[in-house]
């Protein structure tokens, strides 16, 4: 053992353990490194909240599409190419002036990958998973959303393979916008129920 390198004095960090595991699995012929690269590329560049934003914008513009989306989310997102043959158990929840929906997975981190990509760290964190069901109003306040008492909050705990996507309210002042312009306003957090869509839009 060469003790001149100080990084060898500490236990192997996850990066080194993963590298070792990958090299073992490749040596055993169980995984193909090119397939791993392709998977990473897919979730870094192709599948993400832009998909969901496109779905939301279409639903705002096309009442018939919105009906199909609320009736069968999996089939409706496959119309836009986001789940082939509609094989995604997706339920879409519409936010209205009277009702606000919020999605959580208290038991692990279930999340609608097909339309939102991989979840943010806060969604997978113990604070969110523990509190969303018992104190949704307090959680939303931390996100800057004050939900009036007369508005009903529905929290959806994703305990099965059914996935949930929030259809946010369309903001006022967007009547003349195109689908692309509307989609640019729709944030990831709004499709979880942790934010409203505003004219300011957002990076996610």
């Amino acid at each position: 053992m060469d003790h001149d390198h100080d990084h060898q004095e500490v236990p192997p960090d996850p990066a080194l353990r993963v590298m070792a595991l990958e090299s073992l699995l490749v040596e055993k012929g169980l995984v193909d490194p090119a397939a791993l690269d392709a998977l990473i590329d897919t979730y870094e560049h192709k599948v993400g909240p832009r998909n969901g934003a496109r779905v939301v914008a279409r639903a705002w513009l096309d009442p018939e599409y919105k009906k199909r989306l609320l009736a069968n989310g999996g089939a409706a997102i496959s119309e836009l190419g986001y789940a082939s043959q509609g094989r995604e158990h997706l339920v879409v929840l519409e936010n209205t002036p009277e009702r606000h929906n919020l999605v959580v997975c208290t038991l692990c981190s279930c999340y609608p990958w097909a339309v939102l990509g991989l979840p943010p760290v806060w969604y997978k964190s113990a604070p969110y998973r523990s509190r969303a069901v018992i104190d949704p109003r307090g959680v939303l306040r931390e996100f800057g959303l004050e939900i009036p008492e007369e508005v009903e909050i529905r929290v959806w705990d994703s305990t099965s393979e059914v996935r949930y996507l929030v259809l946010p309210k369309r903001p006022d002042g967007t009547e003349d916008m195109t689908e692309d312009e509307l989609a640019a306003l729709v944030t990831r957090d709004a499709m979880i129920g942790a934010a409203k869509v505003t004219l300011a839009g957002g990076p996610t």
């Binding site: 038991l107 760290v121 964190s125 509190r131 929290v155 099965s160």
Partner: protein
């Protein structure tokens, strides 16, 4: 199992800290873990329920300390060893054992277009009609299984109303332990916040939980 993963309603976990402009993966190794999870799942040696259960079995103190992808890495290591794909000696040495089999061809990049982002399909045909109907009042059973379950502790014993029926789905409690899919009707059940948390909860608020037929009884 009554594990620390079953977090709904717990206190003391601290504030929620969203990160602006969060990258998909914070470190390259997180992406590798993610890809290894997806690629090895395609080998068909386990199922999504067994995957979840391997993570739930991480000791509680470790579970709370580890980051998400560290937990995924720990769960993957458990699954590889328990399925026999990799031996403990191989995990420790980092080298394939002599004569180690390469029984299953790996998922190749070419096959991925079809496999990703497909997540699998968990609805199954069953002969029995649903035991409960939309609008019916039901109670989540008081059960404390030591194995895998998707009935959260905070709902056990609570009374709710069936909001919709999702069709019949693979039952995680048996599937996670390779005891068969045991498909059964899956219900979205609405529980009022006050039923779950008491009078301090907002009167109009509610929690919807997906619950399999075996978790429910008439109330």
């Amino acid at each position: 199992m009554n594990g620390v993963h079953d977090m709904g309603g717990m206190h003391g976990m601290g504030p929620i800290t969203p990160e602006a402009n969060e990258p998909v993966f914070h470190e390259p190794w997180e992406g590798r873990v993610y890809a290894l999870i997806r690629a090895t799942a395609a080998l068909g040696k386990w199922n999504i329920d067994a995957s979840r259960h391997s993570i739930e079995r991480i000791p509680p103190a470790d579970y709370l300390r580890m980051s998400y992808y560290e937990k995924w890495l720990a769960g993957l290591t458990t699954r590889l060893e328990e399925s026999g794909l990799v031996s403990r000696a191989e995990l420790e040495s980092g080298r394939a054992a002599l004569g180690s089999s390469k029984a299953t061809p790996p998922l190749t990049a070419d096959q991925l277009a079809a496999a990703v982002p497909e997540r699998g399909w968990f609805e199954r045909p069953v002969n029995e009609p649903p035991r409960f109907t939309v609008g019916q009042t039901v109670r989540a059973k008081k059960i404390n299984p030591t194995g895998h379950t998707r009935l959260p502790r905070y709902a056990r014993g609570a009374v709710g109303v069936v909001d919709r029926i999702h069709g019949a789905h693979v039952f995680p409690d048996s599937s996670a332990h390779f005891r068969g899919e045991n498909p059964q009707h899956l219900y979205s059940v609405r529980f009022s916040a006050r039923e779950l948390w008491g009078e301090a909860a907002a009167a109009r608020d509610s929690v919807y939980i997906d619950l399999w037929e075996d978790y429910l009884e008439s109330a």
